[in-house]
């Protein structure tokens, strides 16, 4: 076992961030590096189960999550992820594991069949929580080299960071991302849709429903006067950025607005270059953001 150090965490990238949404992974790792946090990738991690697996097989999805928890426990550090979906899957499995003796027994038996075991010894954290609550304003402000003076940001939390447990922030009125945005000089706008669901997978499977939900989020973000939206979930990010033209046509309203990971905004403020936060991967233009970045 490696001795736990204050700023070292075991890192769980997640499937989505290893491919389609790698900009989030890249910006997250680089932000951590600048801030002096060590994120050590969990070796041989597997899919957390996500909502899709849970909908078909619950026990198996808990076991999928638990295998990651078991591997992480051997390292003796909290398990950190940036994906809101992975965060909730792992966190929920961990919580239920702790609360429900029968489920715990079943999960452990399954893990043992594959030569692993878990004792409930680690915590699952979201990177936003780690940055805001473990590091905090003082440390982050010290590292900010360029401020986004006056950039209006609509913080979009979506669902699975604060709901259902509400242990990072209030499930109805979260402010954790807004606070961070203030630290980098940006102005979080009042955004009525900040915790409304983007539809997740429905964007692919029931596009008419997904587009309606995304349309309303984008429309409200524009109405709030935001220059951009910041997200903390790969599925939210792609849903909000990839269908803007279609949704604008549907609503007969301009719904085009840059959608960035909060780690991209933070990274730029910390002095990272656009490539170091993979800004070129975004489908929505981010020139406005770069222009607003005062030296």
């Amino acid at each position: 076992m490696i001795a736990p150090s204050k700023n070292t965490y075991t890192y769980y990238p997640g499937c989505s961030q290893s491919a389609t949404n790698k900009a989030y992974d890249i910006s997250c790792r680089n932000v951590a590096r600048v801030l002096g946090i060590e994120l050590l990738e969990l070796d041989d991690w597997n899919c957390c189960g996500a909502t899709a697996y849970t909908a078909i097989r619950e026990h198996r999805s808990f076991v999928l999550s638990a295998r990651n928890l078991a591997l992480a426990e051997k390292q003796g550090r909290d398990l950190v992820t940036a994906c809101a979906g992975c965060y909730l899957s792992l966190h929920k499995a961990n919580k239920y594991f702790g609360e429900d003796p029968k489920l715990r027994g079943n999960i452990r038996r399954a893990l043992q069949a594959g030569g692993e075991d878990y004792n409930g010894g680690i915590k699952v954290r979201h990177i936003l929580d780690v940055l805001v609550n473990d590091l905090g304003e003082e440390v982050i402000s010290q590292h900010v080299v360029r401020k986004f003076e006056g950039l209006k940001v609509a913080p979009y939390y979506g669902c699975q960071i604060t709901r259902p447990f509400g242990d990072i922030d209030d499930p109805e009125f979260p402010d954790v991302m807004g606070r961070m945005m203030r630290w980098v000089g940006a102005v979080p706008v009042d955004f009525a849709m900040m915790t409304k669901c983007c539809g997740g997978m429905l964007m692919i499977t029931q596009p008419e429903v997904g587009q309606e939900l995304v349309g309303e989020i984008l429309r409200q973000a524009k109405l709030s006067g935001a220059d951009c939206i910041s997200t903390a979930c790969p599925l939210c990010q792609i849903n909000l950025e990839a269908y803007q033209r279609k949704v604008s046509r549907q609503l007969a309203a301009d719904c085009s607005i840059p959608v960035l990971y909060f780690t991209q905004l933070l990274g730029l403020a910390l002095g990272l270059e656009p490539e170091q936060v993979a800004l070129g991967d975004n489908l929505t233009p981010a020139e406005a953001i770069l222009a607003a970045r005062s030296e």
């Binding site: 499937c15 989505s16 290893s18 491919a19 389609t20 949404n21 790698k22 041989d44 597997n46 899919c47 996500a50 899709a52 697996y53 849970t54 909908a55 078909i56 097989r57 619950e58 026990h59 198996r60 076991v63 999928l64 295998r67 239920y96 609360e99 429900d100 029968k102 489920l103 079943n106 999960i107 038996r109 399954a110 893990l111 043992q112 069949a113 594959g114 030569g115 692993e116 669902c159 699975q160 709901r163 259902p164 509400g166 499930p171 109805e172 915790t195 669901c197 539809g199 997740g200 997978m201 429905l202 692919i204 499977t205 029931q206 429903v209 939900l213 990839a242 070129g280 991967d281 489908l283």
Partner: protein
């Protein structure tokens, strides 16, 4: 796959629900409708969340499962955080999705269910998932023509190197397979 009478379905469902944490709270439902008014997709459901519990009480779960209702749930947890009776309604929805898939209520029209199945297959095989492979298999299983409609976006993602078609395989696949097999026994 076995057919099962509506009355039996209710009992099976209740047994499953009682087995999950706080599951027995389902009996405390006051029919207040907070879940339905919080739900982003209730308008698209044949039975709103509140009506699902009413249907359960009336022994009409089979009608709920025959409709596309439960697959409209995006697992957003709005109902769960607001229910005054502390019912974890998102978990109820998950249980209904599984019940429907176990008793053959999934058909080609249940697009979200098809996606979930493709997802499970990919993860069972490799230990990971991957959007590229997922989309491809999903559209092949449902409506390949609709998949073509996504070509524009796929191309954009491909150009940005955001759409790998091969899924990474974890090293300890054998160990994971044994875990999954054992979990199946305990379920």
């Amino acid at each position: 796959m076995q057919a099962v009478a509506a009355a039996e379905l209710k009992q099976i469902f209740l047994n499953d629900i009682y087995a999950i944490p706080d599951g027995e709270r389902i009996n405390q439902c006051q029919q207040c409708g907070t879940c339905s008014s919080s739900c982003p997709t209730a308008a698209r459901m044949d039975f709103s969340p509140r009506e699902i519990i009413a249907a359960l009480r009336a022994g009409l779960l089979d009608r709920v499962l025959e409709s596309n209702t439960v697959w409209m749930c995006s697992s957003c947890y709005s109902c769960t955080v607001r229910c005054p009776a502390g019912i974890k309604f998102t978990d109820v929805m998950y249980e209904l999705k599984r019940l429907g898939s176990r008793y053959g209520y999934i058909n080609r029209k249940s697009t979200t269910a098809q996606m979930a199945r493709v997802f499970v297959k990919t993860v069972d095989r490799t230990g990971r998932s991957n959007e590229g492979e997922l989309m491809f298999r999903y559209f092949m299983a449902t409506n390949p023509l609709k998949g073509l409609g996504k070509l524009g976006l796929s191309l954009k993602l491909l150009l940005k190197n955001r759409l790998p078609l091969r899924t990474h395989r974890i090293k300890q696949r054998e160990s994971l397979k044994k875990m999954i097999a054992e979990a199946e026994k305990g379920a």
